[in-house]
Amino acid sequence: MANLIKFKIDGVECMAEAGTYIVEAARQNGIFIPTLCNMAGLIPKGACRVCTVRINGRFMTSCTTPVTDGMEIESNSPEILDLRKSIVELLFVSGNHFCPACEKSGNCELQALGYLFQMMVPRFPYEFPKKEVDASSPKIIKDQNRCILCKRCIKSIKDEQGRSFFAFRNRGNHLEVVLDKEMGMKMTDELAEKAMRNCPVGSILVKEKGFAMPIGSRKFDKKPIGSEVQV
């Protein structure tokens, strides 16, 4: 028998197994907390901060914080929602996200969160950073203009020996996720497809397959992000 505990999200009584991360516990109780860097099957990292909630007056990332008995979580208050929205806005202004010509438009989690938060114009100035496009792999294109440094590709795209195809390079403002040149030459079609699928934005594109999925059939064309969890 599972060790169920009780906790509250925005005053709503919830139950989950002890030790479950808040974002997953909320999901099990029909409450959506947005995420970008978090992904099922990967160890959470709390990198993007989009899943921020407030517990006992402190901001915590719900993908890395387990629920405890009696915990009271503030998630959908105007202040928390605006904080999440500001993070999404920062991600938009710190890259070069040109949705209209992006293959991932309609399947992009960042774009979907922009719509969810009704982001019209970011409150921060655009940085327009100069970024590179690495097209040297025969299978994929790694477009740094759109990368949000979530690390999902680093953690999920590995060869049979467990070596990652992607890695961080540089530090601070110059930090970027790059494809290992040698391993990139050996990437299979299946892994290329998986890398593109796991990327929450349009930073990893499978070569020569652009726009094969018509508008109207893409993941967020009909239903907003999170609607599978919370109506």
Partner: protein
């Protein structure tokens, strides 16, 4: 005293432009020019981007006829993915694209006639400007305004069904199309509630031609003497000489109808077409190389297409085509204002083509994409509503675009538009002490006949001819800087 008249902005056209007319002490027009006062940088934007993004990215040049750019780019990329030079696609791929294109032609031509041009015909070119606009039409002829809106809506719905969105869709992809038409969509377009069905659109397009014919009959002398000058005419034609707005060979005829470009393969367009840069405009001046700058300029668009084509392959439009050709005894028609007549005949042709295509089951099933041996370079041409549109791309070993060249329809019409402006300015303003609003609108009427899209036409970067002139209060030039050599 010498004068300079400026018309800015030119109204009821797509994009931003201005006209300057210089007059000397005796009231003679000494110089008149259409200036394009904006520029875009799409040829540079696409460099470094993966080639399959081009049809989706480059169409952002325009919100009125993005389908033309979308398809021209896709046709160029068909060559790059080894799907042939225009006739190698699957039947479904080609027919879906054609349906998209004729939907586009239908909506764009309808927009131009009913919203942009009709006010001049209904209220007169010197009519009250407060009324001489689409609001004036809605107030005085609401049935016409509604007809224009509904015709545009029908064309836009065709685009939505084929491209995914009414504006800036993603339907055409290198080597084909990404979707079929559904049976529900087909039935809706063919048998939808009045007025949104193909039969009604054919009827309305025929009625629009009658409307213009009546105007022509009542204003024959004015129309035939307005901006009438000889020129070459260039367009795609089908291999058998038929009007074809999607694909064909490149043909040009001179003012007498003699072929000066004889059905050549457009993959070799740069052997025949050259572009000239002039310091006072962001828009280049293309011409036929072998005829030179002075004699090689040409018109494109509806008038040019009806001058180059031998026939129209749909029955109702063919009947109108025969009447149109009879006006000039089979010779090319060089009357600027009859471009409207030609445009309406094309609108009817588009409606007939849409109806014909909708009855073809290849739209509902079949192979979507064809690919073959990859190439490094491809050229796509299409007849956009405003005329022949050239897209040319070259890619590197990593599938990134390294060169793009676009010659946009309105760019092709740069010289004839300037000549039309000059013709009308001289005809109407010479010796006049007072320049009225109606006179200035007459200049705009000449430009409007070409349905120019000025935002599309100013895409160049790198060779952009920018000149800044500094003048003092006495109007003396004290400094001049140029950004090009």
């Amino acid at each position: 005293m010498s004068r300079k008249i400026t018309i800015e902005p030119v109204t009821r056209v797509e994009g931003h432009g201005k006209v300057t007319i210089h007059m000397d002490d005796l009231g003679n027009v000494t110089q008149s020019r259409l200036h394009i006062v904006e520029f875009r940088g799409f040829e540079r934007f696409v460099q470094g981007r993966p080639y399959w993004e081009a049809p989706v990215l480059v169409q952002r040049l325009c919100g009125i006829c993005p389908v033309s750019h979308h398809l021209a780019a896709a046709k160029a990329l068909d060559v790059i993915v080894g799907a042939g030079t225009g006739d190698g696609l699957s039947p479904t791929g080609e027919k879906m694209r054609r349906l998209m294109h004729y939907g586009q032609m239908f909506q764009s031509h309808s927009l131009h006639f009913f919203h942009l041009s009709a006010p001049d015909f209904l209220f007169g070119i010197d009519g009250d400007p407060a009324l001489r606009n689409i609001i004036g039409i809605a107030l005085t002829r609401p049935e016409l305004a509604v007809q224009g809106v509904m015709m545009r809506k029908f064309g836009q719905e065709i685009i939505r069904a084929t491209a995914g969105k009414k504006i800036h869709g993603t339907g055409a992809i290198p080597g084909g199309i990404n979707k079929h038409l559904t049976l529900e969509e087909k039935n809706e377009f063919l048998h939808g509630a009045d007025p949104l069905n193909a039969d009604k659109m054919v009827n309305w397009a025929s009625e629009a031609i009658e409307f213009f014919k009546n105007y022509y009959a009542a204003n024959k002398s004015f129309i035939e003497n307005f901006a009438h000058f000889p020129s070459n005419h260039l367009s795609l034609v089908r291999k058998d000489g038929a009007l074809d707005l999607y694909h064909g060979v490149l043909r040009a005829v001179d003012a007498e109808g003699k072929k000066v470009l004889n059905d050549v393969d457009y993959q070799e367009y740069n052997q025949y077409i050259e572009e000239e840069v002039r310091p006072w405009s962001y828009m280049k001046f293309p011409y036929l190389k072998h005829l030179g700058k002075e004699k090689g300029w040409y018109r494109v668009g509806p008038l040019a297409r009806l001058n180059t084509a031998d026939f129209i392959p749909t029955p109702l439009a063919q009947k109108e085509f025969e009447a149109f050709k009879a006006l000039t005894h089979g010779k090319p028609n060089n009357h600027c204002l009859l471009t409207h007549y030609a445009r309406l005949i094309e609108t009817l042709h588009a409606a007939e083509m849409i109806r014909e295509l909708l009855n073809d089951d290849d739209l509902l099933k079949g192979e979507l994409v064809v690919k073959g041996t990859k190439q490094k370079e491809g050229i796509g041409l299409i007849e956009a509503p405003r005329g022949t549109l050239f897209h040319h791309y070259r890619i590197n070993d990593h599938d990134q675009i390294e060169m793009a060249n676009l010659i946009v329809s309105t760019t092709n019409n740069n010289e004839p538009m300037n000549r039309s402006v000059n013709f009308v300015a001289k005809e109407i303003m010479t010796g006049k002490d007072v320049i009225t609003e109606g006179m200035m609108n007459a200049v705009e009427v000449a430009i409007r006949a070409y349905d120019p899209c000025l935002s599309c036409a100013t895409h160049a970067l790198g060779k952009m001819p920018l000149e800044i002139t500094l003048v003092n209060s006495e109007n003396q030039v004290i400094d001049r800087k140029r950004s090009f050599s």
